[in-house]
Amino acid sequence: MAKPVTIQNSSVVFGNHAQKKAAIELLDGELSPQEIRERTGATVAVRNVNLDIKEGELFVIVGLSGSGKSSLIRTLNLLNRPATGKTFVGDRNLLEMSKKELRRYRRNDVSMVFQNFALLTHRTVIRNVQYPLEIQGVSKKEYTERAEEAIRMVGLEGWEHYMPSQLSGGMRQRVGLARALTNDPEVLLMDEPYSALDPLIRREMQNELIKLEDEMDRTIIFITHDMNEAFRLGDRIALMKDAEMVQIGKPDEFFDNPASDYVRNFIADVDKTRILKVRSIMNKPAYIAKQGDRVKDTLEAVKKRELSFTYVTDENRKFLGYVTLDQLKRSRGKTIDRLINEDETVIYRNAFLREAWPKLKEAEYALPVVDGKGRLRGVLDYDVVVDALAD
């Protein structure tokens, strides 16, 4: 199960004990990180950061090198221990964990993909992927099975017994991703995973991540310095500069309300239609009826919300179609099941606006948005898209 991640007033400071202590005193003041370093000798990498990452969200932290984004993500598995604040995964504060609890948390609930892959070069692909389970005392049969499954997920079947040095960069990072998936973590940390790859392979890997993310139920925190990558992937994006958060929001909010000139410059080269995804501007349907619901209840709910129709899903939120207000009014049946109009025109939530636009233009009203498994995830309104595309 995915878990929300909450970072409260977190700061990461590097230096010896005395330097850190002096620097922490200055965190709330006006001095810049550079001035603090000159005064105390300590490096402030992250300063009073607050983040609320929702469960199942793909959250991207973007910033130039040295902005503190890597230091921040490392606080989520305590490779860096924050000097101040609290870090919650679910309802557990990481900073209060004992060594044993921390080890259990790292083994079961969180995993990380590294910029330079960080593969164990002395182990074959499958022995890399099984490592997180192997160290937990899981039986050989089980960890082999689960490792094979993870390898399949990232499309590396047939490469199990190769050494990392025999693979290309993109394939190595697939190994890194598979290794991070074997322990089925609630939170997946990706620290600039594609920065070391060629642009073409990077694009391919991004698309695969989007697809994978759709099938998985976990919170992903993704670090990058590439704004295009951030917008392509992120449900929400946080922009960091000089150890602090500059702006946090959905992709379109960065275009609509850039918090500063810095943000405006940062997004200047980004082509909106190519990077804005349906999911980032879709709305939640005002009401969703379930298969088997009674006509009376549905009618009431639709009327109350002043709607002209409602979408219908099955028990598992799989999209079935819609029922109009008129149908409900005229119906004599008990349940809505026979009223459902099957609608083939749906939009995939990870589609980019450019791809969704033609369908929407033809429909001229709202269209349902589904995920890879056909579950209803939202509704895309014509007006919203027009607004988003108009600068």
């Binding site: 490779l79 080890r103 590294f114 070069t121 182990r123 160290i135």
Partner: protein, 301 residues
Amino acid sequence: MFETLLSGFWESLVEIPEFLEINYEATIQRFVDWFAATFDVIFGAIRDFVRRVIYNLELWLLAIPWFIFVILVFLAGWRLKNLTTGVVLGLMVVYIASSSLWEHTMSTFVIVIFSVIVCFILGLPLGILMSKYRPVEAVLRPILDLMQTLPTFVYLIPALMLLGLGSPAAALSTTIFALPPLIRLTYLGITTVPTEVREAGTAFGSTPIQLLVKVEIPQALKSIAQGINQTTMLAISMVVIATLVGFGGLGEEIYGALASGRRGVGQGFVAGFATVFLAIILDRLIQGVAERFDHSEGGES
């Protein structure tokens, strides 16, 4: 007149005054005697044990027919390196067998093996401790530096003092002399494991022991194997010198040759080549093993 006075005065300055003449020798000798007598139980036991091990090892090795060695070295050279290496190394064994130095070579070989094994048992943990704990590093580093600057002969003295003449003293001085590179390269191997790789190990919840055994040591194996290689080379060079503490082997032949002046040149060369060949064979084979542990890409970035 004045000159004679002056030169007389000068001579009195040149003369070392009597009160400065201290009998260090007797003092040290007394200390050594006391030390040896006090710890005789311990060192006596060590001496007997080492002597027995070396004696038996030598017996076993001499019980193996020479051509088995030729075949084994050929196969190892071939599998680990290539066919040419196998053939050349095999021929070197044939040379040693034909030079009527087989027994000498085996005694030398036994001391080398014994010392390298002891070096490994001591050096690996020391290298690991050194890489993990700053204070250990702070203590060991200057000692290692010192050990590499001391003249080789110096190593014979403590061995002699503790164990007396014979093969145990040769083994001890060889071990001490050959130990530093193994410690250093183990330390180097472990400290140069890429930070990200170590972090990955930690991030997935390894215990410190798991990190050491499953990540750090395997990553450092190439460096450790190189350490074993250097240690072996140093051991071979030291065994020759260890002849001075009453141990035979190839060194004995070489010293014999040196002592006989020009008439010994032939004998010296024959034994010298045997020593060099022994070194080359061990060097190639250990390097071949070390390359097995090299998982870097070789050339590609």
